[in-house]
Symmetry: C2
Subunit: 455 residues, 2 copies
């Protein structure tokens, strides 16, 4: 048989999470600034919203964090996830490229998000919290938070970006089936939500707004732990189980990627796959070209600038040093809801500054086209977010054909599209467009980036 | 770590399908009768609608059929599927029972159906067909047919029972994303459909009606191969990869099931899991109690009788010797659409006659209750069909607790519920009832069973 699946054994489940900070050059610039003091964010401030172990991981320069046994036990239900060689897609493209994908859709909620949901729920449970509160864009993270809370007997309250709430009613139902409460954001439940609604009753919402709502609720109820699905250092570290497994699986395939591709929103899927490969490179191993693929409708990496900015619209949380379009930016309602983030994880921005990651932006229609080609060859319907990585992988494979080069391309298939079929329906009906963003909106939003946050 | 997942290697993928006919007592009664001659169905008649290899499998008394390499190659994308020990559910039930489940939701379309879709597409392709035509109830089979056709570069046309078409719009979209055409049945595309609509414009459809439509289209176009998702001997055989793997996985768990449970519609999921265990028993191995769980709304096994009856309402296909409620029976619109079949695979009926399988019927509400308990403990949202097996497994586990007995219970988790979230939504909103069927409807339908079909 032609080898298409590279499946690790349960005993090969990573024992630690990888922290790329240990391998990046040191920096004098703090990653985060307190919204109240204007000084570098302190451990004590972080401890007010996060359990000790997560604060430790958030601020550590250690290379590895041990994965607690109860977390590995839950990971083992679907991890190690499979890595596939996309031979049927290769043949359809008539490319000499070797295309591989790491498939995270085998998780119970169909994406990579439980990789961080489970440890966050675990540490919050240890800290005595009885419930979780969080925000979600497309609902992949919200579903994972709901699942993770149910695994530990905790409640979950999820503020979901309103446009996604409307586009993806099944995501809400999935969260409810795990016992969570899902609220469209902006909502009237919080001062932050009410302020947005007063200014714009038809606001489609944004991750920044939903984050403000979740932070506000967490601040008012000490029994609730605030959790987040992307961007933070500890979240990116949790996701490195993906890339660590992929490293071993590429070895099983007797190959090594020339190119690693991930879709890019808050950065956790991209980091999860690519950081372990970048770690090898930084420690003297083989070089890889890492491509971050973002939607043209939310060009955080390709049109944003690195600055200290809030990750939440209501300016309740810290300011992060990151690529940002400005915290007031509200992206057009593209279906890749998980990629509609005005900012990104500070470690992704560091990696781009270090020229370790190349960002590109692609339009929605080309992504759906790639997703359908992938479904019809590989048999897996991808999430709209993941189609961004597929688009870039197909383009690179076509370039290999043109150049007569056989490169190994590894991309992250971060999730399946079972909850995104209204989007595919609209695509087939010709009801989608490329949803680019106009320069005026970018200019207006960038004006919201604070000028001198460090006092 | 506590062992919860039993994962076979790719090399352990079964090499053959198992045919229980070889181990059942011989019978003089033909399994099928020709609708035109009134005599036992001949090979030649079967060859008119089916490729040679499938006819061979349909009529064979050999114990094993070799799985062609291209089929195993495609199986290998997600097979062997995992077998889990449901330890968190056990703890929630405080039961001494050891509960195991074989999870088929890892297939690209989320259920066991591609196990037979792929070989049927393969053999039809070999026979020169360029497209497939079929019927589907809940859409699990239709999705698998669409996927399988796309794997072999064939078209697919799927007649979907109208009530399911309306309840599960995402199933249609999934089929379309694989390139298939999906038509609500009864439709105006066929004489069979038009006849039903003339009598009842609001007909919710049934598998029997959709089968007539698909058979009619196939009969009129020699380029199309008719395929079917359940009931036939060869379909049941294809599904035995499930039980063969489970046998090995139970050995990995150093255990053996006392009870094997499957939900029951056309019988392919039930047979796929249970027949390999029954084969062991018939050849002198350990005895298992096999429970077939059907919906109270469509009590084919518990209230039907064994007779020769049509599997399709339009009486185009053969008559099968099977449990039947009568081919005019239209079950209430329960959400377990895949279990709304008036008849069942003849081999299931034989196994029941031989006292190898015990049938039970359960109400829809208890099934959703069990499904939600399963989701909140095991983390996987089950398909409404699969919740029937979960209901019975939980009840058996509770019995173990009451009796202070530790039995090993293995059930088939035939698919996930990602496409069934409107059903869960309605369940949570209190909008579902148990949809039992009244005696008058059963009496009327049973009058449609032919009295003396064998001439």
């Amino acid at each position: 048989m032609e080898k298409i699946k590279f499946q690790l054994d349960e005993k090969d489940l990573p024992a630690t999470w990888y922290n790329i900070v240990a391998d990046l050059p040191e920096t004098d610039e703090p990653a985060a600034v307190s919204p109240t003091t204007g000084k570098p964010l302190t451990r004590d401030e972080l401890l007010q919203v996060m359990p000790e172990q997560l604060v430790e991981q958030e601020t550590s320069t250690e290379r590895e964090f041990e994965i607690p046994e109860p977390v590995r036990q839950l990971y083992a239900q679907w991890r190690p996830s499979p890595l596939f060689r996309a031979r049927r897609l290769e043949r359809a493209l008539d490319t000499p490229a070797r295309i591989y994908y790491k498939y995270e859709g085998v998780a119970p909620t169909g994406s990579h998000k439980p990789n961080t949901g489970i440890p966050q729920a675990y540490y919050n449970k240890l800290a005595g919290k009885t419930g979780l509160v969080t925000e979600t864009g497309a609902g992949q993270w919200g579903s994972a938070a709901a699942l993770s809370a149910s695994f530990f007997g905790m409640t979950a309250k999820v503020f979901m970006v309103k446009v996604s709430f409307q586009q993806k009613p099944y995501r809400r139902a999935l969260m409810e089936s795990f016992g969570a409460v899902c609220i469209p954001s902006p909502s009237i439940e919080t001062a932050a939500g009410r302020a947005i609604l007063a200014a714009d009753p038809d606001s489609p919402g944004s991750l920044g707004i939903a984050t403000s709502e979740a932070l506000e609720v967490a601040a008012q109820d000490p029994t609730l732990g605030y959790t987040l699905g992307s961007a933070a250092n500890h979240v990116l570290a949790h996701q490195t189980v993906i890339g660590q497994e992929a490293l071993r699986q590429m070895a099983m395939a007797d190959d090594y990627p020339d190119i690693v591709i991930g879709c890019s929103g808050g950065g956790s899927n991209l980091a999860g796959l690519s950081f372990p490969f970048l770690g090898e490179q930084l420690r003297g191993g083989p070089a890889v070209r890492v491509i971050a693929v973002e939607p043209a409708a939310c060009p955080t990496l390709t049109k944003g600038s690195i600055a200290y900015d809030y990750s939440d619209t209501g300016r309740l949380g810290p300011l992060f040093r990151m690529h940002t379009l400005g915290h007031t930016f509200v992206p057009p309602p593209v279906h890749a809801g998980g990629l509609r983030a005005h900012g990104i994880g500070p470690l992704i921005s560091r990696a781009i500054e270090e020229r370790l990651i190349d960002p590109i932006a692609v339009g929605q229609l080309g992504c759906f086209e790639a997703g359908v080609q992938f479904a019809r060859t590989e048999g897996i319907l991808p999430a709209p977010e993941s189609t961004h990585a597929i688009r870039a992988a197909i383009d690179e494979a076509k370039r290999c054909r043109e150049e007569g080069q056989s490169r190994a391309i590894l991309f992250g298939l971060s999730g399946h599209g079972h909850f995104d079929l209204t989007a595919y329906d609209k695509y087939f009906a010709g009801q989608l467009d490329d949803e680019t963003v106009d320069e005026d909106a970018l200019t207006r939003a960038s004006a919201s980036i604070p000028e001198a946050p460090l006092r």
